[in-house]
């Protein structure tokens, strides 16, 4: 069994290492200081289990998980994070509230052993649930050619559905993210981003005008010249946000 510890505090990592010495079946293949190292190490080693802190430099634990297509099973180790507790309970293998004792740690390991098969599948659901429960995001983290990119919301023109992915169009071209349109619709600020169409979410600050199209539908023209379809319900939503 391969495990990875991702935490920005060396002492916090050392306590997990110490507790793991009692579990000879689990080998620590690497320790990571932040999410960037974490993504790299996960890609490289394909661990079975990760111990993940949430508050870390640059990108937090959730954002890091979002960047991995097949996330491994996760045990969160965190100080009190009230908002996320419910999501953890539903989908994480377990979460350990710092400081945690040996017995509690052993219980988490045992729980993982018992539910090993399905726990990896749960990680994807967990991410969506956490994003939904933590409310609005103010940036999107993507990975392209092995590099991690943080996109501020203001740089986003629009989002377009593309099979299992969402294409995020920005000034620098588009980025792919393995997430659903509805999860974006829920997590992006509602006063800035409107789902104008089944397959489109638009940054309303980019819209320069609305042209009538076919019966009761419209085309939103962006400042870049790009035309985005607006459905009948999308038009109602736009009207409300724009106050027209």
């Amino acid at each position: 069994m391969k495990a990875l510890i991702i935490d920005d505090e060396p002492l916090a990592r050392s306590i997990i290492k110490e507790y793991l010495t009692q579990h000879p079946g689990i080998e620590i293949i690497q320790e990571c200081n932040d999410g960037f190292e974490g993504v790299k190490a996960i890609m490289q080693h394909q661990p079975d289990l990760i111990f993940l802190d949430i508050q870390m430099p640059k990108i937090n634990g959730f954002e890091m998980l979002e960047l991995i297509e097949q996330p491994p099973a996760v045990i969160f180790t965190t100080a009190f994070e009230e908002y996320a507790i419910k999501a953890f309970e539903a989908h994480a293998v377990d979460y350990l509230l710092k400081p945690f004792g040996k017995e509690r740690f052993d219980k988490a390991i045992q729980k993982w052993m018992e539910t090993k098969e399905k726990s990896a599948n749960n990680t994807r659901q967990l991410i969506d649930a956490v994003v939904a429960s933590t409310g609005q995001q103010n940036r999107i983290v993507v990975r392209e050619n092995g590099k991690i990119k943080i996109i501020p919301l203001a740089d986003i023109h629009y989002l377009e559905a593309a099979d299992d992915y969402v294409k995020i169009y920005t000034t620098e071209g588009y980025f792919l993210k393995n997430k659903t349109m509805s999860s974006f619709e829920n997590s992006l600020p509602k006063d800035l981003f409107v789902r104008t169409h089944r397959s489109f979410i638009v940054n309303i600050q980019m819209i320069t005008r609305l042209d009538p199209y076919e019966k009761e539908t419209y085309l939103a023209v962006l400042s870049t010249g790009k035309k985005i379809p607006v459905s009948k319900t999308g038009y109602l939503k736009l009207k409300e946000v724009l106050g027209i």
Binding site: D8, E9, P10, L11, A12, S14, I15, E18, N33, D34, F36, Q55, M56, P57, K58, A79, F80, L97, K98, P99, F100, N138, R139, I150, P152
Partner: protein, 351 residues
């Protein structure tokens, strides 16, 4: 219920004196009409004593009941009724006392209208003064209550802002201690000591008391020492303080949250080593504290905003000094600077 203005020191004498003066004047006037001295004295004394009593009645009445609406109509009606009653009672009484003196009864009868007018003016005047006085009392009382309520709200808010010592910090520190206990027990014990000292300092301080910068720096040092155990490999701090600034005053527990904010954004916004600088100087009549931390303009979680930590510091400065311009921030070259100005006064507490 407010006190009547008659309960003020000296006022009862003025009130009595006032009526004595009018008694004397009335006596003199009556003498000119050629009535006997006894009649003039009895008449003027009785008139003014009854008039004075009527006024007392009104003043006392207003202590318990102050009309909210149409108060001037109230004064007018009461004055008219009372002066009317006063004239009737006076006429009856004097008529009985001097029932054999036709000359006097004649004058008494002729002066009825004049007496009524005089009584009305007198009672009207006094009740108007009384009304204004009680209205003002009412106003002062409401004003005091309002101020007390505001003060309470302000205290509560200050308390809350101060309470925002992040539980994160506490739990993560405990976690570090837990890790040190096995590997480095001496260091663990030392850290428990530091954490206890820090918490004690946080708990005992009153939010609106001003402490010397030196004292606050000592408290800050405890915090920094703990953070360095957690992030020692990444966190550097540079503290520069102008010697004469050390004795200047800062609101208790203002500095540490400001630095905590800088550390948080520095550590979570940048990968690798982070240097936080704290620079205290005297600027005219104020103490200026500059706190800098590195940050990434493009990806900062706060997107260039001040974040919650600084917003609450700004609010505290406003509550204490009544100024909204004491905290300013600038950001360039990947360095975020928060500048706090603390006006210096000599009192140890405000309000």
């Amino acid at each position: 219920m407010s006190k009547s203005f008659l309960s003020n020191k000296g006022v009862p004498f003025i009130f009595a004196g006032w009526w004595l003066v009018w008694t004397f004047l009335q006596w003199n006037i009556l003498l000119k009409f050629g009535i006997s001295e006894t009649e003039a004295i009895v008449d003027s004394y009785l008139s003014n004593i009854f008039l004075g009593l009527s006024c007392l009645l009104i003043i006392n009445n207003m202590r318990y009941y102050l009309p909210k609406k149409e108060k001037y109509w109230y004064v007018l009606t009461v004055s008219l009724v009372l002066s009317f009653v006063w004239v009737i009672v006076l006429k009856l009484l004097l008529g009985i006392i001097f029932k054999n003196d036709t000359a006097y009864l004649n004058i008494l009868s002729q002066s009825t209208t004049l007496r009524f007018g005089f009584g009305f003016l007198m009672i009207g005047c006094i009740s108007t003064v009384s009304l204004l006085w009680f209205t003002q009392q009412d106003f002062i009382q409401t004003e005091n209550q309002k101020r007390a309520v505001e003060q309470l709200a302000k205290d509560a808010e200050l308390f809350k802002l101060r309470q925002q010592l992040h539980p994160h910090f506490l739990f993560n520190s405990l976690n570090s201690i837990s890790a040190l206990i096995v590997s480095q027990p001496e260091k663990a014990r030392h850290m428990v000591q530091q954490l206890s000292d820090f918490l004690r300092g946080t708990l005992k301080k009153e939010e609106h008391v001003l402490n010397s910068l030196n004292e606050e720096l000592q408290h800050l040092q405890l915090y920094l020492d703990i953070e360095k155990v957690r992030f020692g490999h990444r966190l550097n701090t540079v503290i520069q303080v102008e010697e004469s600034a050390r004795l200047l005053q800062v609101p208790a527990l203002l500095l540490q949250p400001a630095v905590e904010n800088a550390i948080k954004f520095g550590l979570y916004d940048v990968i690798g080593a982070v240097t936080i600088t704290i620079h205290a100087t005297i600027q005219g009549n104020s103490l200026q504290i500059e706190i800098t931390n590195p940050f990434d303009e493009h990806t900062s979680q706060t997107a260039g905003g001040t974040g919650f930590g600084l917003a609450s510091i700004k609010r505290r400065l406003f509550l204490i000094f009544g100024r909204a311009d004491l905290l300013t921030t600038t950001a360039h070259n990947h360095i975020f600077t928060a500048t706090i100005l603390i006006p210096q006064k000599n009192e140890s507490t405000y309000y």
